[in-house]
């Protein structure tokens, strides 16, 4: 049984850790337990073995070793859409809130994320477009982790 007083666990995945450090630290300041990872495959392994209350993902990351080379479009291979589908495929992780923080406005990449989230959860994905203020992120994380 989950301890309601325990700190909420957040997994943040971004290949450029420097860029999300301030967000991670701000969340730590707000008493969240933040784990930072830069590799997709490590993140997926960790998600399968541990429990997180919120996942924060970048939308473009170096592709997983398991991404099939059939994706001709490199951007789609790198897309968070693939990572999202891997997470949602796991029934245990289907309802974990996922927030995307991105500067990517590429319609194809976004559409894939949107279609994937809608297909698995019936909801629109939560996407914050950079520049994102700490206040914005903290507010959203608080809301979805309650």
């Amino acid at each position: 049984m989950t301890d309601p007083t325990a700190r909420k666990r957040i997994l943040m995945v971004d290949d450029q850790l420097d860029y999300i450090e301030p967000y991670a630290e701000a969340l730590e300041d707000e008493d969240f337990d933040v784990t930072l990872l830069s590799q997709v495959d490590t993140a997926l392994d960790l998600l399968r073995s541990e429990t997180f209350d919120v996942i924060i993902l970048d939308m473009l990351m170096p592709p997983s070793e398991h991404v099939h080379e059939d994706f001709e479009d490199l951007d789609l291979r790198k897309s968070g859409g693939w990572v999202l589908s891997q997470i949602r495929e796991d029934e245990r992780l289907r309802d974990v809130p996922i927030i995307f923080i991105t500067a990517v406005r590429d319609t194809r990449v976004r559409e894939w994320v949107e279609e994937t989230e809608r297909a698995y959860t019936g909801r629109d994905p939560m996407i914050l477009t950079k520049p994102v203020t700490l206040t914005q992120l903290i507010k959203m994380v608080r809301r979805v982790s309650e």
Partner: protein
């Protein structure tokens, strides 16, 4: 039920008018006349000779009698047609009477024969022959002996001097009639050709719309091309047709059949042909199109014809002349439309005759239509491809700019928050710092945060300006703004930092006025474009507001529009400049004097985005508000109008 027009009527026109002309010409003639019409029996003079009327009445009253006479008339007509004679004097084998036959020829077609100068023979031998013939006729018809002869008593004899003049008059009438008929036929032919030309043009017009619809796939494009071939084939009397497009890469030396008509599509579409170099040379040199008459031609057994004969012999047996129409592609490769005309040519009235008067230009148009549509598609496709690469590159560049800027902004915000918290816990944290330095420190932190935010906005605006090719802009997603108020509040919050730095009291959303718009308008969620447009307006307001003023975002419903206004108090927007400020890179002199580093693209981008919403963005010249320290402040309003949604959200 109306009788179908007889051949004579088709060629000459009004039969009754012809009778009147002959009646007029022969009114003084003692002899009657009869006109043999190949398709409608016999025509007699209105003032039918009393004696001969009764004679022929008896003859034609008997079915066998008319058949006998008709056979004789047809034999004479055949003889006249063969001999090309202007007239023929003969003794009728059926009646034994002497007759002159004058042919009516219209455009080399025997349309009728006028039998005139019908006389009794005077020569004793011929008289005997006449009597024998009439006697036989009376027997054949089952008439009493002498019953027919009595009617011939009043006929002139062949020595009548007026007969030669009669023949002359008939020949003049026939010549006039032939001229009329030829004129009429020429008109009919012209009308028929015009009809087919119009049919062909209609087919081209329909094809023009379909082939230039750039939203359709290549498959649909070639299907539309096949439909054009199928529409044109019967008009020009073709059995089948193909479009041959030069291949690429390994198939460079081949032509591919991309559209076919009159042939089994699955057997011929995609078939490769190696065309003769001589033929390709002819095509390349052709200015518009070229017809190859295949008999005795080296190309008569070309690969396309051979394949049709082998694959579908029943169609192969019908192949006549080939019509080859070149299609010139922009990359200097020549395609080809091939029609095979029917080996048994259709009458000129049934098809569009392919000649230099109309047929050439119609077929040339079909070739250039397909070629031009093909070229257009390739051009647009290439532009799309280039655009895609440009966009991808721009996305990457923007991402590379914005991601670290966002981190800088985050670090600055984090530092600000933490220092504020630490100072709160430990008020003596900055005890040893001079007040002025503390203020500079906080200002610098805010400046870092605000500058990073501004730079991100600039990067997005830059990418938007470079990428605002509306034709190729791609689809955007419009979503109902269920919580427009919340959206605007979020945007206003983004600017609180920079507003503070400009000593602006607040950026506030007048929620009471905006809330009626919730769920009534749609905003573009793709790329956060709506947020970018409003953000650019607020950013503009922040830069040009005076200290201790407020920036207000308010809304209202106005007929078919949802209106959002951004109002600020600051420098003046003079009359005449309210439209110019939306021009790319335009800045008012006062704006340049107030805030030097701006680029002048924010408002232009904002308006572009709002127009993409189906709305408008306008500004009103400022109105004076008050004077503070001898400085006049002005109220400036930017107005966005977004189309209101119907009650069903559409």
């Amino acid at each position: 039920m109306a009788r179908p027009p007889a051949l004579f009527e088709q060629i000459v026109g009004d039969t009754e008018a012809f009778r009147l002309m002959l009646d007029g010409a022969l009114k003084d003639c003692a002899s009657p006349y009869l006109v043999w019409l190949p398709d409608a029996g016999f025509l007699s003079g209105r003032e039918y000779h009393a004696a001969l009327g009764a004679f022929f009445g008896l003859l034609f009253g008997h079915p066998h009698g008319e058949r006998l006479y008709r056979a004789q008339a047809e034999a004479i007509a055949y003889h006249l047609d063969e001999s090309r004679a202007g007239s023929l004097v003969f003794t009728c084998e059926v009646t034994g009477l002497r007759t002159v036959a004058v042919p009516v020829r219209v455009a080399d077609t025997l349309a009728a024969v006028v039998f005139c100068c019908i006389t009794r023979p005077t020569d004793p031998d011929e008289q005997r022959q006449f009597k024998a013939a009439v006697g036989q006729l009376e027997k054949t018809l089952g008439l009493a002996a002498g019953q027919l002869v009595q009617y011939t008593a009043r006929l002139p004899d062949e020595a009548d001097p007026g007969l030669d003049k009669t023949v002359e008059r008939v020949q003049r009438v026939v010549a006039a009639l032939a001229q009329l008929g030829e004129d009429r036929l020429a008109l009919q032919r012209a009308q028929q050709q015009e009809h087919w030309r119009m049919q062909a043009i209609r087919a081209l017009q329909v094809a023009n719309q379909q082939l230039n619809d750039l939203s359709i796939s290549w498959d649909a494009f070639w299907r539309a091309t096949a439909r054009l071939l199928a529409d044109l084939a019967p008009i020009i009397g073709a059995v089948c047709g193909l479009v041959l497009v030069p291949g690429r890469g390994a198939r460079r030396d081949m032509h591919i059949a991309t559209a076919v008509c009159g042939l089994p599509s699955e057997q011929f579409t995609g078939r490769l042909y190696r065309l003769d170099d001589a033929l390709l040379g002819v095509i390349a040199r052709a200015e518009n199109f070229h017809i190859l008459h295949t008999p005795n031609d080296d190309l008569a057994h070309g690969p396309v014809r051979r394949s049709i004969i082998e694959q579908v012999p029943e169609i192969g047996a019908q192949l006549g002349h080939e019509v080859l129409i070149p299609m010139f592609f922009e990359d200097q490769r020549n395609g080809l439309v091939v029609f095979f005309l029917n080996s048994e040519p259709a009458p000129a009235s049934d098809v569009l005759v392919i000649d230099s008067s109309t047929g050439d230009s119609i077929l040339a148009q079909s070739g250039s239509l397909i070629g031009a549509a093909f070229n257009n598609r390739q051009f647009v496709q290439r532009r799309h491809q280039q655009h895609k690469f440009k966009r991808a590159w721009l996305e990457t560049v923007t991402h590379q700019f914005v991601a670290p800027l966002s981190a800088v902004q985050g670090h600055a915000e984090l530092l600000t928050n933490r220092l504020a918290r630490w100072e709160n816990k430990n008020p003596k944290l900055f005890a040893n710092w001079p007040e002025r330095h503390i203020e500079q420190f906080w200002n610098s932190l805010t400046a870092i945060e605000r500058t990073a935010q501004y730079a991100s906005r600039l990067a997005y605006n830059f990418s938007r300006v470079v990428y605002q090719d509306k034709e190729l802009g791609g689809e955007v997603e419009l979503s109902v703004a269920a919580d427009l108020t919340g959206e605007l509040i979020q945007i206003a919050r983004d600017f609180q930092g920079s507003a503070r730095e400009h000593r602006i009291l607040k950026v506030e959303v007048d929620t009471a006025s905006v809330s009626p718009l919730n769920g009534k308008v749609a905003i573009i969620t793709t790329d956060d474009l709506f947020r970018q447009a409003i953000g650019n307006l607020v950013d503009n307001a922040v830069k040009y507001s005076f200290e201790n003023t407020a920036i207000i975002l308010r809304g209202r419903l106005e007929k078919d529009w949802g209106v959002i206004e951004v109002v600020n108090e600051g420098i003046r927007l003079a009359p005449g400049e309210e439209t110019r400020i939306f021009e790319y890179e335009y800045r008012t002199p006062e704006a340049r004097a107030t805030y030097a580093p701006d680029t002048g693209i924010g408002l232009s981008v904002a308006r572009d985005i709002i127009v993409q919403h189906g709305g408008t963005l306008t500004a009103r010249p400022s109105v004076p508000v008050r004077k503070v320290d001898d400085r006049q402040s002005w109220l400036t309003t930017f107005t966005i109008r977004l189309p209101l949604l119907d009650s069903d959200g559409s």
